[in-house]
Symmetry: C2
Subunit: 336 residues, 2 copies
């Protein structure tokens, strides 16, 4: 069953194609009788105009932006939605479609296929790696894209990222201000990932700058991992008085493990959490949070790409959004 075209309708209604077209668009007046015959024919044939042909003829392209989101972790959290929803809104409001590409592997094939189809005019990239294949690929295709994150080398790239260096420093500053000298970082252990790598480096810098030892404990993003990491840390470094934890799930686990070992929070142990999805407390505690401002980051990246696509001049091509330090109840002065 071949596609039914405007020609079929025209033939059946015994009019010309132009008349059918105008009957549909209403761009010129049509006699009542003709209109009826046309609509009858359309109904009988089940005709629906081909949008591809329409857009070719009218030279209007329906614009779409691709959002490339590899699902690296098996479990997604509320944090991801903050990025997605924010970017999607900016993009939809600007009259673009928002096309989400999710996949479990980091295979670049999906992107190549999609980019080649031309369905998206530009891309937003999440989970940016220090050395990211996607960047190389899109660059050589000449397809516009903006990173939500940063690579190792960013010359000529467009990005919006969280200024995690500043954020981590702010956390360490706050903790040392409270007298803590034994601070540990329960971090995601993925040096290939730009965000991870920078966070880890920032913590080292922030500690060194204050002549503190930087203690690390790698940690997955789940409750159970946070629990285990905290247990390991307290075995290894019982002198620890403050921790910075990668995300809310892990933080909840860490709190649990700390309590199980008789450490009260914040009396015995201060805790700052980042990558917070803002949907839960830590038990009865309002946690002290370093908010990475996912909405701002995503919205700005989307906006930058839209400007890029419409040929507007960009005042900035590389933007760092300073994370927000949100006061809570999970840190306190260090007890002597």
């Amino acid at each position: 069953m071949a596609r039914v075209t405007i020609a079929d309708v025209a033939a059946k209604a015994r009019v010309s194609k132009s008349t059918v077209s105008h009957a549909l668009s209403g761009k010129r007046s049509i006699s009542e009788a003709t209109r009826r015959r046309i609509h009858q024919a359309i109904a009988e044939l089940g005709y629906r105009p081909d949008p591809v042909a329409q857009s070719l003829a009218t030279r209007t392209r329906h614009r779409a932006i691709g959002f490339v989101f590899p699902l690296l972790a098996p479990e997604v959290s509320g944090l991801e939605v903050r990025f997605i929803a924010s970017a999607a809104q900016v993009i939809n409001r600007a009259g673009y479609a928002f096309t989400l590409m999710t996949h479990l592997d980091d295979n670049i094939g999906h992107l190549e296929q999609f980019a080649a189809s031309g369905l998206a005019e530009g891309f937003l990239l999440m989970q940016v790696q220090m050395h990211d294949e996607r960047v190389t690929y899109l660059d050589q295709c000449g397809i516009p894209f903006v990173l939500i994150g940063r690579c190792e080398e960013n010359r000529g790239l467009y990005y919006v990222d969280c200024h995690i260096e500043l954020g981590i420093d702010r956390c360490v500053e706050q903790l040392t201000h409270f007298g803590h000298r034994q601070i540990a970082f329960l971090h995601q252990d993925n040096l290939a990932m730009g965000f991870s790598a920078r966070a880890i480096r920032s913590f080292a810098d922030a500690c060194q700058h204050r002549s503190l030892e930087s203690v690390y404990e790698p940690c997955e993003l789940s409750f159970a991992s946070g629990e285990q990491a905290m247990a390991r840390l307290l075995d290894r470094r019982p002198e620890t008085t403050a921790i910075i934890v990668w995300n809310d799930n892990a933080a909840a686990g860490a709190v649990e493990a700390a309590l199980a070992r008789g450490r009260r929070i914040p009396a015995d142990l201060s805790l700052i959490c980042f990558n917070y999805s803002s949907i839960s407390r830590l038990g009865s505690l309002q946690p002290t949070v370093l908010d990475i401002r996912a909405e701002d980051v995503a919205a700005q990246a989307a906006h930058m790409l839209i400007c890029l696509l419409s040929g507007e001049v960009l005042s900035e091509t590389q933007v760092l959004v300073e994370p927000a330090f949100i006061e809570g109840q999970s840190i306190a002065p260090c007890r002597p």
Copy 2:
């Protein structure tokens, strides 16, 4: 600056359009010299083939599925991602693009515009209302769609939904089995929404069936609302020994309010939570959860739509997925 076309390239390289086309597709052999001239011209002009024209000429349509997701609540949770990520994966694997339409209002204009553009061959609808404009609209356009949810009247519709009736009954059954007779429901108060309306109705049925009084307390989906709702409930109905709470955020708040009034969980108060995003505990408690199986629901809906689009025969057009009751630590036998 008009679009640079294949004709421009052909002229510049002093060959015909067919040769340029073949140089690009590699579908026939081309002399090295010609190829070089063509690629040079392409590079100089910055030519990129128009995918719209390509797809018209080749009669291949790039297939996309639209995911219509009104953001009714200002804050999104991890639950949403479970639907989105799951549907996106099924859709991407089937070779379709996944187009996410998010908007804050429930204006049907976005959908109309997008549907008319023909960019999506079919739609998946979230946040289904009892009487849903989108259904009426897509129906009369003849555009295939599958509901993730149900309307009031579902004749002729395709849907996959959580069998919330069974789920709520299971919760009440479990609680009465533990001897509870004073059960309250902290629920989202939105009767227009199919899921809400059915959940509320199911609770009434489940209670009536067991000659229990059904107590309701409306509640938004945030921590603060859960806290307030719980406080109101305990004022109004101090005899309550068990609650079912709409989502994890509200549950966390409810726990907080209960503890603040000296009710231990589960010793003094049993709690079952549904719409759980599976990313947090309730403080130190592993909550007892009615899991709505978002991933299964979304994946099945996506699969159904794909079958629909490819003209496959569907064994079922209306599917209810039974929620999973996950044992936890937040319910206990009722104390005399």
